[in-house]
């Protein structure tokens, strides 16, 4: 199994990663190794084995439905560069 350049570009785009053109060949090679390892695992017969959703075979604890958080907007927004009237501002998403 090998990966081609367009697949690498797609993966990078999905993750919103900017990659250098000259690095792509190396990514192809490195990622293909990981994919090959998965292919190897795929060859194991798992017909009678239930899929595992989490490596720890325990179940989640649940929280009672109480409001425990207070308004910390000022603190949180002290980290943000663009804000107005309590909103976080981002570049306009639609025209």
């Amino acid at each position: 199994m090998s990966l081609d350049k367009s697949e690498i570009q797609k993966i990078a785009w999905l993750a919103r990663l900017a990659i250098n053109e000259e690095d792509i060949a190396n990514y192809c090679h490195e990622l293909a190794e990981i994919v090959n390892m998965m292919e190897q695992m795929n060859s194991v017969d798992t017909t009678d084995i239930a899929p595992l959703a989490h490596p720890l075979e325990v179940f989640s604890r649940l929280r009672t439905d109480d409001v425990t958080e207070t308004n910390q907007r000022e603190n949180f927004q002290s980290n943000t560069s663009e804000k107005k009237d309590g909103y976080y501002l981002v570049p306009k998403v639609i025209e």
Binding site: W13, A53, R73, F76, D85, G86, Y88
Partner: protein
């Protein structure tokens, strides 16, 4: 041939019902609607580094309750998954949702079609997920404002099979689910505030054709009326596309209620690729049989059962029963009034669907905020039943109660509205009217039966007027005829 007759429509719906928990699905921030932007968005909702989600038990229970009410399968374990995409109102870059092992699968409900037939609509699955924030595109020049108060609100996404064949059936299904979630008290059903919203998948195919046509997904549907118009518009559009030898493109379309049309959302560069995988931050949840049993016991009488009971036990019509059970608050109100009036169901139904509904609609008030409580209306109805007042006077009393002038008894006393049933007093008034209208009395004596009936109406009118509407109409009729005919 009418072009609609040649084509068959296939509709499936995805409903998002916001669960009425106090806090969010994975954090302890409040879910109250309408707060100042970002005052209810905590570190978890903002997706700050190092935070971990913790599942709200109430949201799980509400989802199970829904599943049990639609006879669905509830698995022993259920798993949360990440749905990955980038959008500014989704700070983590993924939405916590469910993919494999949703909490509810394979349920169904019955709807009534246009020609009054029952039809089963299958519900593929209902899964839990967190809502995203809200984008405000209008208020800031060159920017979009992001309010993350809604981020993390618990949603139950209810996905139907493509079992509906026209817009009317889709609405019937939606209303059924809407009524159900309100009865179960797991969602407030408020469509204006977005607590109950819907996306519709619509496709058409030739009647004889087996395989489904290409579907489009219509988003932005937040009222029953708009959903119906949007689906009908889309059916028409797809027929036109195909009949002009073009092909329907699989895409998401937005409904514009001002123009009554759907239009393509700019298609993204690539098809969505959400790369679901189990969320490593969350362990699977275990649903014990005892939990299911306990929740099952907490399910109230559901609308279908209630509706049948009203017809059978209370001898109400299907129409009355449908109306009274359409909303749990109306049904509760109705049941309280019957209790107060010792089971006089029909008169209670008439008052609730008549004067009360009219007054509530006029002022756009929900029945649970009615200025005339079930107790007040029940007391008023009792006074009609025991003939303290006539049905007509009762309308005056109702209006006074609506305007906050007190309860029925105090209004009747202060306005002196008590019905006159003392036959001596009624006879006295009748005698006066007969004396004052001697020519009509002459006419009456020489008239045909038909004409007599009209004159009776005239006399009764005069008598009621003189008694200020308080004379018991039945007694007036009887006594008047006796006097005129002898």
């Amino acid at each position: 041939m009418n072009k609609l007759e040649k084509w068959e429509t296939v509709i499936g719906l995805e409903i998002h019902a916001q669960l009425s928990t106090k806090s969010k699905i994975f954090s302890g921030a409040s879910t109250n609607y309408g707060a100042d932007p970002n005052t209810q968005a905590c570190a978890v909702d903002l997706g700050l580094p190092g935070v971990l989600p913790v599942i709200n038990e109430e949201a799980i229970q509400m989802a199970i309750k829904f599943g049990l009410a639609i006879n669905a399968k509830i698995p022993k374990t259920s798993v949360f998954a990440r749905k990955n995409y980038f959008y500014p109102d989704l700070p983590k870059g993924y939405q916590i949702s469910q993919f494999e092992l949703p909490i509810v699968s394979n349920g169904h409900i019955e709807i009534e079609t246009e020609n009054k037939k029952n039809k089963t609509i299958r519900i593929t699955r209902a899964h839990l997920e967190e809502d995203a924030g809200k984008s405000n595109h209008d208020e800031f020049i060159g920017f979009t404002g992001i309010d993350l108060n809604r981020a993390g609100n618990p949603l139950l996404e209810i996905v139907s099979e493509p079992d509906m064949s026209n817009a009317k059936e889709a609405i019937s299904y939606l209303k059924k689910i809407h009524t159900l979630v309100c009865y179960l008290k797991i969602c407030d059903g408020n469509m204006q505030e977005g607590s109950f919203r819907c996306d519709a998948n619509v496709s058409i195919k030739l009647k004889k054709q087996k395989e489904l046509g290409t579907r489009t997904e219509i988003k932005n549907l937040n009222s029953f009326k708009f959903i119906e118009s949007a689906i009908n518009y889309e059916i028409e559009r797809q027929i036109n596309v195909i009949e002009s030898d073009k092909t329907v493109v699989q895409e998401t379309r937005l409904y514009d209620s001002n123009k009554n049309e759907t239009r393509s959302m700019r298609s993204k560069e690539e098809a969505n690729d959400y790369r679901y995988f189990p969320d490593p931050d969350l362990l699977p949840i275990l649903i014990a049989d005892e939990t299911k049993e306990a929740i099952k016991k907490s399910i109230p009488e559901l609308p279908d059962v209630k509706c049948k009971r009203y017809q059978k036990e209370l001898a109400l019509s299907k129409y009355d029963s449908d109306n009274l059970t359409s909303n749990p608050d109306i049904a509760d109100y109705f049941e309280e009034t019957i209790k107060i009036t010792n089971g006089n169901a029909k008169i209670c139904a008439n008052w609730i669907m008549g004067d009360l509904s009219a007054s509530l609609n006029k002022k756009n008030i929900a029945i649970k905020n009615s200025p005339v409580s079930a107790k007040m209306l029940g007391d008023l109805i009792n006074l009609i039943i025991d003939k303290t007042i006539s049905g007509k006077i009762a309308k005056t009393v109702f209006e006074a109660m609506w305007n906050g002038e007190g309860n029925a008894i105090s209004i009747i006393e202060s306005k002196d509205l008590k019905q006159v049933t003392d036959s001596g007093k009624i006879e006295k008034i009748i005698d006066e009217i007969i004396t004052e209208n001697s020519s009509q009395v002459e006419q009456y004596k020489n008239s045909s039966d038909e004409k007599k009936q009209k004159l009776i109406g005239f006399f009764v009118g005069q008598i009621m007027k003189k008694s200020k509407g308080k004379a018991n109409p039945k007694q007036v009729n009887e006594l008047l005829k006796e006097k005129l005919d002898n």
